[in-house]
């Protein structure tokens, strides 16, 4: 069974990590790509998607983990020996060669089998030869034809438009007949119209050639349009691997939901199986297997939220219209229900200030475990009423002696963000800020890479430097057992069949986790304190 899986899978990454200057660019990424698939690595800038692609291409060596190609370990194979070709972000067409020269570059270097002969020792030896001039000419012209640039062979690459350069870059990669084509944000430099055309052309090429495409983009629409499978990444970690439909309909966590399409994310409580409470109202849903009264995130897509007249019997929730904006084929209506803002798409304009009823099908309520319920840090007491958090001593209220190992917990509400870095006890960088109906959940990274979650009233700008303050009485301290083991986490590729999953687990020799529902397959995306432990040794 293991064998069968590796034949279908052309590329496999096993626990691949890449560390730059002690920071994880890619962390423990495991994924499989099937032969002939169109796979997209999707995520915001700096999420590690390009680094992952560059590791597959061979330009970067993984710090840890293995890359398997056709069942063979290619982790240490140099790029020129890998049977894959890349279309680069800014094309990287050679300026000293014309279009023909650029496309012929790879062909001129290639050696092909040319019969066998028996040498003196009686062994059969494989002979190789290079392509002849005529063969190269024919192949280049065919490649030019494929990208609709038949008469451009003699042209200087600098004289071509962005779209034409793009086509030359694709032809240059495809003329070598690679088994896998890697594309690193290839459409990023093109204008919108051109991009849409190229998207369709690439999809068409993928269908015709039947080779595997691995595509990197930050454009969620592009990913949803083109891919067979999407791998969503964030902060170097894989968030979800699934088909576009599944990514859209069943995002693994608040980040994926926020990144893919428009959505309203609200905090709620799972009262019981099939029963969820948010906006002070109990709703029916189709999810089960949560703990009783577990705090959860509810995701509602605006197109799923129906606006009804105020007294409609089907109405589940009464809301006030805050705004209504015409968007071409629909109105984007912002409503306020029980202090939470909900976005809806409506075919009719709604009067601002009027009261309406809202309806949503139980099936359209997407319920997810909260990534983290509380900020937890393993640390030590450093003095009288002092505890170390991220390298700095915080005032706290405790009777424990100095040096006691403790677990510190801080509620999201109690993390205070200050505009000026100097005003806080420690400095941090804002990684993201997600609106949750009535407040923003900010995610902050301190200088030693601990991630703080904070609920605030303000929307903090991504990338900004801020200060973090915590009131002494809000720091909850618990004595910790130092020998406790860290839990291992895994992301499961949702496009795999149950059989394949079993095979992967067997290969990784980890015990199979038990799943109650799909949501549990999903990994939480918080980066925990485990960064701090062995970073120093890994520095290059």
């Amino acid at each position: 069974m293991v064998q069968k899986v590796s034949v279908d899978n052309i590329i496999e990454l096993r626990n691949v990590s890449k560390i730059y200057d002690g920071k994880y660019a890619v962390k423990n990424a495991s994924l499989t790509i099937k032969r002939g698939e169109f796979v997209t690595l999707l995520g915001p800038s700096g999420c590690g998607k390009s680094t992952t692609l560059r590791m597959i291409a061979g330009f970067e060596m993984p710090t840890e983990g293995q890359i398997i190609f056709n069942g063979k370990d290619i982790t240490n194979t140099p790029p020129h020996e890998r049977p894959l070709n890349t279309v680069f972000q800014r094309y990287a067409l050679f300026p000293h060669l014309n279009v023909f020269g650029n496309i012929a570059f790879g062909l001129k270097l290639k050696v092909i089998p040319n019969g066998t002969k028996v040498n003196r020792k009686g062994e059969t030896v494989q002979l190789f030869r290079k392509f002849t001039k005529e063969e190269i000419k024919k192949k280049v012209n065919d490649a030019l034809k494929m990208v609709d640039l038949e008469d451009y062979g003699h042209r200087n690459v600098a004289s071509l438009s962005g779209g034409q350069q793009q086509r030359v870059a694709i032809a240059r990669a495809l003329v070598n007949e690679p088994e896998v084509l890697l594309l690193d944000e290839p459409l990023g430099a093109l204008d919108l119209k051109m991009r849409k055309d190229m998207q369709l052309e690439l999809m068409d090429m993928h269908k015709r050639l039947g080779i595997t495409f691995i595509y990197v983009t930050h454009d969620q629409e592009e990913a949803l349009t083109m891919s067979d499978k999407i791998i969503v990444m964030r902060l170097g970690e894989i968030q979800q691997i699934a088909t576009p439909e599944k990514i859209y309909d069943e995002p693994a966590n608040a980040f994926v939901a926020d990144f893919i399409g428009e959505s309203t994310i609200l905090s709620g409580t799972m009262l019981d199986d099939y029963k969820v409470e948010f906006c002070d109202t109990v709703f029916e849903c189709v999810d089960s297997g949560f703990k009783k009264n577990e705090p959860i995130d509810v995701i509602i897509r605006p197109e799923d939220l129906k606006i009804l007249p105020k007294d409609d019997p089907n109405s589940l929730l009464s809301a006030e219209v805050l705004s209504s904006v015409f968007k071409g084929d629909h109105f984007q209506v912002m409503t306020l229900a029980a202090g939470n803002e909900l976005m809806a798409y409506s075919n009719e304009n709604c009067a601002v200030g009027s009261t309406v009823g809202l309806y949503i099908k139980p099936f359209d309520l997407h319920i997810m475990h909260k990534t983290r319920l509380i900020n937890e840090i393993d640390t030590y007491i450093t003095g009288e009423n002092l505890v170390e958090i991220c390298g700095t001593d915080f005032d706290c209220v405790t009777t424990l002696p100095e040096g006691t190992p403790v677990k510190v917990s801080v509620d999201f509400d109690d993390v205070e963000i200050t505009d000026d870095e100097e005003d806080g006890t420690i400095g941090a960088t804002v990684l993201s800020s997600i609106y949750k109906g009535s407040y923003y959940q900010a995610i902050l990274s301190t200088d030693d890479h601990y991630i703080f979650f904070a609920d605030t009233d303000d929307d903090w700008l991504k990338g900004d430097r801020v200060g973090i303050k915590i009131a002494p009485e809000k720091i909850l301290i618990e004595v910790r057992d130092e020998n406790a083991k860290e839990e291992q986490k895994t992301v499961i590729d949702e496009t795999l069949t149950e059989e394949e999953r079993a095979a992967i687990r067997e290969e990784q020799k980890t015990p199979a986790p038990e799943f109650d529902s799909d949501e549990e397959l999903i990994e939480e995306y918080g980066v925990d304190g485990e960064y701090e432990t062995d970073e120093k040794e890994d520095e290059e």
Binding site: F59, A92, G106, N156, N176
Partner: protein, 266 residues
């Protein structure tokens, strides 16, 4: 009544170029004209073609010319062979820029003092002064002019070209031959220009480092003017000018072939 329009003087960008234009006129154009005039005058300030005859018929001057070209070509070739690997390695290093500065540092000392010091070292080591020592002095003096433009060009080559070449199946040697080398042509040309032209026109270095045994074109021009042979000196200067112009033209021709490569500062 006629209206007299006085042009108002305004401080435009153009005005700032006036001092240099004046300088150019006085110290470049006027001397050139003087040389041209002198070339056709004999000792009594009469028009004559004799100066040309004297220069082109005397075997001594053609030997000097040949010698100069030979020294120029060898110096340039040695500088390129020594300088390219240095520039290449330094462009791969993060501290390369600093080390390039170390190569330039000797230029802070006056070249005459440097050359005299080199001569003293050769004498102390009992090395016979001759063609070898002259070539050494030339290479020593002009090597930085080769390394600087090469380093600038090689380090400005986009790394993605190397990756693209690797991706298309090129090993390290092929990446160098098929991308780095052709993409650094403009730097090579700048380097050659900056070494070859000063070398063929240099004087003093050859005189000092060969004890006057080796006589280059620059030296003989100096000598002619010292001996008040203005006519012959001017002819030589014109011949030299022709060589500089021709080599510049050839270099530009080469350079325009690789025009789309970002030109180096030099």
């Amino acid at each position: 009544m006629k209206k007299i329009v006085l042009k108002k003087f305004r401080l435009t960008k153009k005005v700032f170029s006036f001092p240099y234009i004046l300088f150019l006129l006085l110290f470049v154009i006027v001397p050139l004209v003087l040389i041209l005039v002198n070339a056709f005058l004999d000792g009594d300030n009469r028009f004559t073609f004799d100066n040309f005859k004297t220069f082109f018929t005397s075997p001594a001057s053609t030997i000097v010319l040949g010698n100069s070209l030979l020294v120029g070509v060898i110096t340039t070739a040695v500088c390129l062979i020594l300088g390219y690997p240095v520039a290449y390695i330094l462009s791969k290093m993060s501290s390369g820029r600093l080390i390039v500065l170390l190569y330039v540092l000797p230029m802070f000392i006056n070249f005459l003092i440097r050359t005299l010091a080199t001569k003293a070292i050769f004498i102390a080591m009992n090395v016979e002064l001759g063609m070898g020592t002259v070539l050494f002095g030339m290479v020593y003096n002009y090597l930085p002019f080769m390394i600087m433009p090469l380093h600038t060009t090689i380090s400005s080559i986009d790394k993605s070209y190397y990756e693209a070449a690797q991706d298309l199946g090129a090993d390290k040697a092929t990446v160098f031959l098929k991308t780095t080398l052709p993409l650094s042509v403009s730097g090579i040309i700048s380097g050659i220009t900056m070494v070859f032209i000063p070398t063929i026109s240099s004087f003093a270095i050859s005189q000092l480092l060969s004890n006057g045994k080796i006589f280059l074109f620059g030296d003989s021009i100096q000598l002619s003017f010292e001996q008040n042979l203005y006519g012959v000196g001017s002819i030589m200067s014109l011949v030299m000018l022709a060589f500089v112009l021709v080599s510049n033209l050839i270099m530009n021709k080469f350079n325009s072939n690789s025009d789309n490569v970002r030109r180096s500062l030099w």
